[in-house]
């Protein structure tokens, strides 16, 4: 996530007011007793705010809370007929976003991942723009319009590769170590590195052309290319 680098002309956007709104949201939610989707979305935005404010330690704690809430709500499992289409899609998106934030912040801080791949059988979000998802059902996306959620799903697949990297390139146990003068080092097999390289190549090959950097693309797609 990029830190906000441009100031605002809005009086309400002073630093004090940003924290005031954040503080108000935090006051209104009891994070220890939250089991509805709207409150979980609020916690996700709090995590984003903290990340963008360089408060990684607090952010890490909130991510842990969000993961636990999502697990209590069964969002790591696929329930096809239990929710209306909007709620079903929002559940999928929220779960995978929480999973992505957990993986990225844990990797940055060098801390263990909370969820293993084996504990998850939730589907990726349906690749359709918001306006085609209604209470009655999900309409088909027009063929000439690429849904932005397709780029988001690619990002989630990349997160799975990051999980693999953290698990196999930086494991805690099971590899021969080399005693050095000051610290204990460890070894990684070249085949593991090549395996991950081939996963990354396969991920890149599966990207739609408009999401690959370097081509002329509208500003919104450039944003996705950069963030991916």
């Amino acid at each position: 996530m990029k830190l906000a680098c441009k100031p605002s002309r809005f009086e309400q956007c002073s630093l004090v007011n940003r924290y005031k709104y954040f503080g108000a949201a935090r006051q209104l939610i009891d994070v220890t007793d939250c089991r509805d989707l709207v409150s979980l979305q609020a916690i996700i935005f709090m995590i984003l705010f903290l990340q963008c404010s360089a408060k990684l330690a607090t952010c890490y704690a909130f991510i842990g809370v969000a993961v636990r809430i999502a697990l209590r709500m069964g969002m790591h499992r696929s329930f096809k007929d239990s929710f209306n289409p909007i709620e079903s899609e929002v559940r999928k998106r929220c779960f995978w976003i929480i999973r992505k934030m957990d993986v990225m912040v844990s990797a940055m801080l060098g801390l263990p991942l909370t969820l293993s791949d084996h504990d998850i059988d939730q589907d990726f979000p349906t690749e359709v723009d918001d306006e085609y998802i209604t209470m009655e059902g999900i309409q088909a996306q027009p063929k000439d319009v690429i849904p932005m959620i397709a780029a988001v799903n690619h990002d989630f697949r990349l997160t799975n590769i990051v999980c693999k990297i953290v698990r196999r390139i930086y494991p805690l146990q099971g590899l021969p170590s080399v005693e050095r003068q000051t610290s204990r080092m460890y070894r990684v097999r070249l085949s593991v590195v090549r395996d991950i390289e081939s996963d990354l190549k396969a991920w890149e090959d599966n990207l739609q052309p408009m999401f690959k950097p370097g081509l002329d693309a509208p500003p919104q797609l450039v944003r996705y290319e950069t963030l991916n």
Binding site: M1, V16, L28, G110
Partner: protein, 238 residues
């Protein structure tokens, strides 16, 4: 097509290790059925033979080399003056930077590039930021409780602009809300008097506040005191 070509190459290497596709004798050997003899005279690195989708590299372990990691396997456990701990594991950025400084710091100094790697003091400051240790200019009351009411929400036009910054810019790749439903809920909050709010509206309020807070972080304007003075002086002010 490329994927198929790569698969075909891998299969060929499995069946006929050492055979080079650009070997000038390839067509002749194929015609005579003696491709297996082609690898005898060539020196191909066995480690390039990779089974498709191999997770463990089982069959080629004998030829598989080990790479020594540059980061310590135990990570780093820091403690500040107050007795609070912070652990950074092997994959953390802090560990990597520290190791870079240790391994290459002397080299950089010798070549006159002293500023290119973070010094110990810089690493400590970065660690403090990540551990959120209060510095001289940090205001602890930043996240403390504020009395705020519905009247403290910005006017609807401003709020909608801030919400767009949050949802379209900050959450470009993290779309956790269904936008049409979200904007409908926002309209209800601003159009109805607060005494007529339902339970759902009350539940929506924290989400609205934090989206506006995030929108404030991502709002754009080129001319202001913040732009001129810089971010650090603004945080000093609180």
């Amino acid at each position: 097509m490329e994927k198929k070509l790569r698969r075909a190459e891998s299969l060929l290497q499995l069946c006929f290790p050492g055979v080079a596709l650009d070997d000038p004798r390839f067509d002749i050997l194929l015609q005579h059925g003696s491709l297996h003899e082609a690898g005898l005279g060539t020196k191909q690195l066995q480690s390039h033979v990779v089974q498709p989708h191999s997770g463990t590299g089982g069959g080629i372990q004998d030829h598989d080399s080990d790479l020594e990691s540059m980061v310590a396997s135990k990570g780093a456990l820091n403690q500040d003056g107050k007795g609070e701990y912070a652990y950074y594991g092997a994959s953390s950025g802090m560990n990597f930077l520290r190791r870079m400084s240790e391994e290459f710091g002397q080299m950089a100094k010798a070549e006159g590039h002293e500023g290119s790697l973070p010094s110990d003091a810089t690493l400590r400051r970065m660690s403090n930021v990540m551990m959120e240790i209060p510095g001289q200019s940090d205001k602890q009351e930043a996240f403390s409780e504020h009395d705020i009411s519905i009247d403290d929400l910005p006017p609807k036009g401003t709020a909608m602009q801030l919400i767009r910054y949050a949802l379209d810019d900050a959450c470009a790749i993290l779309p956790c809300v269904h936008k049409p439903s979200f904007y409908q809920a926002v309209d209800r909050i601003f159009d109805l008097p607060s005494e007529n709010y339902s339970t759902q509206d009350h539940r929506f309020l924290p989400l609205l506040y934090v989206v506006i807070a995030l929108g404030c972080l991502f709002a754009k304007d080129g001319e202001s005191k913040l732009e001129r003075g810089g971010y650090l002086s603004a945080t000093d002010e609180g």
